[in-house]
Amino acid sequence: MGNEMIETMDRDETMEREFDFEIVMGIEVHAELHTKSKIFCGCTTEFGGEQNTHVCPVCLGLPGVLPVLNRQVVNYAMKAGLALNCEIAEFSKFDRKNYFYPDLPKAYQISQYDLPIAKDGHIEIEAGGKKKRIGITRVHMEEDAGKLVHGGAANLAGAEYSLADYNRTGVPLIEIVSEPDIRSIEEAIAYLGQLKAILEYTEVSDCKMEQGSLRCDANVSLRPWGQKEFGVRAELKNMNSFKALQRALEYEIERQAEILREGGAVVQETRMWDEAKGMTISLRSKEEAHDYRYFPDPDLVPLVISREWVDKVRQTLPELPQARRVRLVQSYGLPEYDAGIIVGSKAMADYFDAACAAYAIAVPAGTEADSKGQERAKQISNYLMGELTRFLNASEKGFQDSPISPDNLVGLLRLLEEGTISTKIAKTVFEEMFATGKAAKTVVEEKGLVQISDEGAIAAVIRDILAANPAVVADYKAGKEKAMGFLVGQAMKATKGKANPGLVNKLLKEELAKM
């Protein structure tokens, strides 16, 4: 989930039961595939670019042109399907979804209707401390539409004019439709997070929500506890971040609950999440629902996928988040919590594995690191979840572009382990490393931060301090333990924090004993 903060509703099951209704949700996610060219032509899929520069007659749907399927799109869709534990269809086809809108050049979108490339899958999520399986109904391929730019207003309403930018037109998408298995906002967030992680791990999508390469719609309904039939649902569109998903669901669930509490009936409709207003707004009712007049696209031959092709794609599947989490717990003895956080972001997990390798504690899957190794792994995990995450968030960076490389982080940890620097010094060193990208050793040397472990030197400092503070020594002799802390502090201060704290303690006790 990258650096995005996810606030989840803190509801356990008993609390949920206190809510008047059971929530039933299914989620549809559109993910832009990470291909270089569009789904039916050779135009670039690069984000941005001057309006209408990433276009050709084919993606513009000019008269006479024909679509030709990009094979890489099929590979990616298949890979996503396999990662989501779906069956890959031996025979699938493309259909036309007909509707009029200025951003849709052909006045139909090429999509997959009744025979999608993948179906009947599932993923595991964890929400409220419980594991749960969410069914994946289907994964299908389709082309994206263009974008309208409204002049003089943010929306169509009030716009003086509208321009059409077709750069996005024909960008390949997969739509992932879940079963209505989701029962809480926490589960919805966890589902989207897990799905995003899987798509990132498989590298089929860059999942940049802020660029619209991952978009989310949700079907939401409520029903009295114990009722089998689903309630009337509303489809929520246009949620482009975890926060928007959470806020939209909170709003929509409360909206529906209020209607039901007052004895009213929820209307089946499509609603749009308006981020600025913080509410969902009705787009169209069931009566106004589009009749898309789906039919098989006669310009594209059916897609026949051999089992060999499926196997070939299966072999490209990486270790997925779930498996990686299990490995981190088993191999490194990491707490479940740590492992969950780390694998939630592929970049973080990759960073972790790289650091383990640099620390010479990487072990093959199925084997366990020794206790020393486990200690080191936990140390890495602490830094990743603590300092590094904090620094990265503050500078709006991801683990993939961390100024501190896994090698350098391990360099810092080695200095700590060897006792060359103290934990306190380490913080200073870390800060400098993050700012400059330098190795820990270089920073320590340049700043003269090497820990003083010379007993003679420390003893000399201690003797000076004891001589300068007779009253405190007297307190200590009188049994005041706090006095010890003051003396240690003085010694550290005198050495600018470089003294080895263990040695300071040991030598202080020895000197005091002599007195």
Partner: protein
């Protein structure tokens, strides 16, 4: 020397022998074109200037002693629903009146590469919907054999231009008979190739699963030569067949002795004009006399072809023509004041009646609640029709029928009754539904008007269809007769 009476292969010989230059040919053709246009009106957009430039290039090659291909320097015409780079492509529709594509259809690219010279873009029924060219959004093309009669459609301009000697050959497109029916009405050779044999890239779609580009020529050898130039796999068209394509001239002149020829009883029932029937029966006897064995066969689902066609083709058309909405190119209504009325008025003002009729039919057939009953059912029956042919071709090498139930009808005769008009394609539709090749040649004349003989074969069997057609042509010579046009 009346150059306009010559075939492409005859002109090629003249060019090679340097008896004429390509420029001579284009000039002669342009003169013929201009002299006849007031009478025939085959062309929407002439491209004579460009043609002369191209001819000069071909002549330079000949002068330099370079070898030229069989179609090099040969004047041709292209139906105006095939995109031509920099030359407006209108589909004879107001909605595309000013559309200038920035690309060539693959067939156009291939013919350019072969050195053929485009004289102009030819008239058609708007978006290739119609059987008389009376549905053109611009004007009506006339039949060179009798200018009171229709040239057929939708490729009426392409057929008439070849029949009148305004072009040596032309390309048409055939969705339900739009090459074969006008070929029959105008007395020329017209081939609808196997679906997938000729790339559809750049052909402005009417019904994508049925549309196929094919040639109009004066004789069968020319048809084979044009096929050699345009057939083949195209990476830009997913439905184009990745198979080996033959030399279509390779079987010309070979005997058809021992061929088994089927006459489907369903095609020889009531509804055929007696004169047409007589010509076809005589033609069958000629084929028999060439050594073929003729027997009756059956295509039991023939009666469903028309309803199936008029569900599937409009359904696809309703989707293919949805892009003409006034947003990006082509006609846009000026009286609209919001988005929806812009869509509606643009389409109401830009499309003609027949196009609107089919869009409405197709939209209805695809709408939810009716899809299963109409579109899906039609797809299933289409499979039965295809199976009929598969079974027939287990026993027969080819199937013969009249191309049309009557000779070319008079203007206005059928325009008031669309269903009556649709019946003129009743013998040709099934071939598109089955995706197989159909060839129409001039079988002879009835009351001075040409009668078409349709030869149907199994998929990718065009070379053999041309073989039997060539044998017939050699035996009768009726292809060489041209209409008297007084110029």
């Amino acid at each position: 020397m009346k150059l306009y009476t010559k075939t492409a292969h005859e002109l090629h010989d003249l060019l090679v022998r340097k008896e004429v230059s390509a420029t001579d040919l284009v000039k002669a053709q342009a003169e013929r074109m201009q002299a006849l246009e007031p009478k025939i009106q085959a062309f929407v957009t002439p491209t004579v200037d460009k043609a002369l430039e191209q001819a000069a290039l071909v002549d330079a090659k000949i002068v330099a002693g370079e070898a030229i291909g069989p179609l090099e320097g040969v004047p041709m015409a292209i139906k105006d629903n095939m995109c031509t780079d920099g030359v407006r492509t209108t589909c004879s529709s107001k909605i595309l009146e000013n559309f200038v594509p920035p690309y060539d259809a693959t067939v156009v690219t291939k013919l350019k590469e072969a050195g053929a010279i485009m004289m102009g873009k030819t008239n058609l029924d708007e978006f290739a919907m119609g059987s008389s060219t009376e549905n053109s959004g611009f004007f009506t093309t006339r039949n060179p054999w009798d200018t009171e009669r229709v040239p057929g459609g939708s490729s009426g301009g392409s057929a008439a231009s070849v029949a009148a000697g305004q072009a040596v050959f032309s390309l048409g497109s055939d969705t339900g008979g739009s090459i074969r029916q006008p070929a029959a009405f105008c007395g020329v050779v017209g081939l609808k190739p196997t679906y997938g044999a000729v790339s559809r890239f750049g052909l402005i779609a009417f019904a994508s699963s049925l549309d196929q580009i094919g040639p109009f020529t004066r004789d069968v050898r020319d048809c084979a030569l044009v096929m050699n130039a345009i057939a083949g796999h195209d990476a830009k068209d997913s439905t184009s067949a990745p198979v080996d394509f033959p030399d279509y001239t390779s079987l010309l002149g070979k005997s058809i002795k021992g061929w088994r020829v089927g006459l489907p009883k369903e095609y020889f029932g009531d509804g055929i004009d007696p004169e047409v029937r007589a010509v076809i029966e005589k033609a069958v006897k000629t084929i028999e006399s060439l050594g073929a064995e003729v027997a009756e066969c059956s295509l039991p689902h023939t009666e469903y072809a028309l309803p199936v066609y008029y569900l599937l083709a409009p359904a696809e058309a309703s989707s293919n023509l949805a892009r003409y909405d006034g947003v990006r190119y082509g006609y846009r209504s000026e009286s609209a004041d919001d988005l929806i009325s812009m869509f509606k008025k643009t389409r109401a003002e830009g499309f003609g009646d027949e196009v609107k009729r089919r869009i409405m039919l197709g939209t209805y057939a695809l709408s939810s609640g009716y899809y299963d009953a109409y579109y899906l059912k039609a797809l299933k029956v289409r499979t039965l029709i295809k199976n009929d042919f598969d079974q027939a071709f287990e026993k027969f090498d080819c199937i013969l029928s009249p191309t049309t139930p009557s000779v070319a009808f008079k203007f206005g005769d059928r325009t008031d009754n669309p269903l009556q008009m649709y019946l003129s394609d009743v013998f040709t539709l099934s071939v598109n539904l089955a995706g197989i090749p159909g060839l129409s040649i001039n079988a002879g004349f009835a009351n001075g008007m040409p009668v078409g003989l349709q030869i149907i074969g199994k998929a990718f069997d065009e070379a053999r269809l041309l073989q039997i057609a060539h044998a017939y042509e050699e035996a009768t010579g009726c292809h060489s007769r041209m209409p008297e046009l007084g110029v």
